[in-house]
Each structure stands twice: as structure tokens, then as C-alpha cells.
Amino acid sequence: MIKYGNIKIDIPNAQLENIRFQDYFQCYQQYEALEKYYTEHNSSIWQMFEDSPDWVHNLANLIPQDFDHHVVSVIKINPGQTIPHHVDKHFKLKQEHGDGESYRYLIFLEDWKRGHYYEVHDQPFTKWKAGDWVKFGIDDWHIAGNMGDEPFYSAQVTVLTNV
């Protein structure tokens, strides 16, 4: 089930711009129809994982504490880039902490800006506020993209509850 909520954050834009992203990669295509249209040129993103700044790690303390383990990351989608339709399997988290129920909290780090887009399970989501989050599972197909003129920043806290 997809859930929505909000945490109180106040992250200045300069702080986002100062993140020293090192990984820039093409999002993988999970079915053939996407391979035709999405290339390294229009579906590449910046992402940082465990090396993320402390304030990214601290986000895990602000979301509902309904988990045993978690990992964090922060993503920057530049204008013109799309993360095509996909599901996340949380492989790394399960590899480290064992099986269980896992979810992802996607946290929007800034108020919505024109051209910024997110859709989960065929439900479009726009006009968010900084700190709004969406919680979704491993079977929830989703998309994100940036057709605006400013970078789109989000954080991900992926959580696992051992069963």
C-alpha cells in the first residue's frame, strides 16, 4: 500500500548544490519497450549512497520508525532526464540484513518546481512540499523525471523489517 506523509526539513538549496555526487549512471531499463526510447543521454542521474552527508542519514530518524534496518541515498535528476518506469527490489539492503518486508521512503527535498514529476502505481504526484514523502514497496512501479529548468533533488530511505 502506498502511503504519504511529511517530515519537517529545511535544507537550503546551496546545501543541495554542494553535494559532491560521484556516481552518474544510466538508469536500467526493466522491459523492452523502454530500451527503444531511453538512453544514456535522457535517462541518467546522479546518486550518492552511504557517502551521503550526515543530514541525509539523519532523515532516517524523522520518518516513521517502522523498520529494523535502513540505507539512504540522495538523487539529483538534471533537467531533461527521466528515471523510466521501474520497480526497486532493495537487493543491497536484503543482502546485508536478510529477508523481510522492505519499503522505500522517497523524500522530496525541495518544494515542487515546474516540470518536476513523480508517478507511482499510475498515480501522478506533483506540487509537493519539501519534506513530503511517499512510501512504496517492491511491486510498485514508478517514474520520476525533470522537464523543468532546475535540478530535482530527492532522498531515499529504504527500510527493512525482519520477519
Binding site: 543521454h41 533537467p79 531533461g80 532526464q81 523510466p84 515546474r114 514529476y117 517514474i143 523543468g148 529548468d149
Partner: protein, 180 residues
């Protein structure tokens, strides 16, 4: 955002897919929008801001007949846009320059009329298909739904899905009371 609907049940998916598009338009400069704002053109990837278009004279009869759905729109011309997956038309404003120039050249009467563009959706919204105008989004449109794009109002469209996105633009002059 103005929202209306006309019956387009006679338009099939096959009709859309059989359309021949004559222009592949690059929209990165957004018709001078960035320049008007005094900002640099965003560093969009080369292959993203493109749209396929077919204009009035090259459109089949069924496209031109859609104009009759809007009898209150005068001096109208029609365009069909096909936005392929991963493509978008970046934020821009429509100046409607061609329409205004043509009307002026022809000496048409435009007293009490405004130049406007009807954006007509030719499909139910599909995954990843996006419309935004003046910081408002329309994310649950159905085939036959339309909105009015007035001159100089910023808007953008995108296709982040995996199926083509078809829309029709009918541009003409309307009375204020017909579009509010």
C-alpha cells in the same frame, strides 16, 4: 485552468498511429522563452526536447473536421503533435505570432476577440504523460478533454512513459466569455 470536453469517440488509435507527421521540431530554445527571462538555455540532452508535428494543410480531413467541435473559435488552424517517450516540450509560452500575423494580413475582424490555443487530448492519459500550465497540472484527463492556452501563459508537456502521446492544437480567436 479551463477544462472542457468534446466527443471524439470516432477517433481510433489506428487513426492516430496512421497520421503522417511532416516536421520534427526541436524545442530547446522554447521559442525565445529563456531569452525573455534572461536565463541560459537549460542543458537538456540533445535528443529530449523534440516533437513530431503535422500542420493544417498536411492534416487528413478527420483532423480538420475537429475544428467544427469548436464553432465559437474563429479563423482557426489545426496542428497535431506526437510526443514520443522520453521527449518533452520544455517550459515555453505561445506567442501565437503566425495566427496573429495571418489574421492581420487577411484583415479579419478581431474586435472583442482574443487569440487562443485549444489543447485537445486525443487519448486518455497514459502512464508518464504530462501536462502543466502556469504551475498547475492536469493529470487525469480523458480523450476529448481540452483546455485553453492563452497567449503568454507558460506551459510544458512531456512523455515519460513508453507509448506515444497525441494531442491536437486548434488555434484561433475567441470571445472571453467562450473560454472562461
Amino acid at each position: 485552468m479551463f477544462k472542457g470536453n468534446v466527443d471524439l469517440n470516432h477517433i481510433t488509435e489506428e487513426m492516430l498511429y496512421r497520421l503522417k507527421f511532416t516536421e520534427h521540431t526541436n524545442t530547446v530554445y522554447s521559442g525565445g522563452y529563456w531569452k525573455s527571462l534572461g536565463v541560459a538555455v537549460p542543458d537538456y540532452p540533445h535528443e529530449a526536447p523534440w516533437v513530431w508535428q503535422v500542420f493544417e494543410d498536411d492534416c487528413p480531413p478527420w483532423v480538420k473536421e475537429c475544428k467544427f467541435k469548436f464553432p465559437w473559435l474563429k479563423y482557426s488552424v489545426v496542428t497535431v503533435n506526437k510526443l514520443m517517450p522520453g521527449r518533452f516540450i520544455a517550459p515555453h509560452v505561445d506567442t501565437l505570432y503566425k495566427l496573429r500575423k495571418n489574421v492581420e494580413d487577411q484583415g479579419y475582424d478581431t474586435i472583442d476577440l482574443l487569440p487562443v490555443r485549444i489543447n485537445l487530448f486525443l487519448q486518455d492519459r497514459l502512464m508518464g504523460h504530462y501536462f502543466e500550465m502556469d504551475n498547475n497540472t492536469w493529470l487525469d484527463y480523458k480523450k476529448g478533454d481540452f483546455t485553453i492556452i492563452e497567449k503568454d501563459v507558460p506551459h510544458l508537456v512531456a512523455n515519460l512513459g513508453y507509448e506515444p502521446r497525441f494531442t491536437m492544437q486548434i488555434t484561433g480567436y475567441a470571445k472571453k466569455e467562450d473560454i472562461t
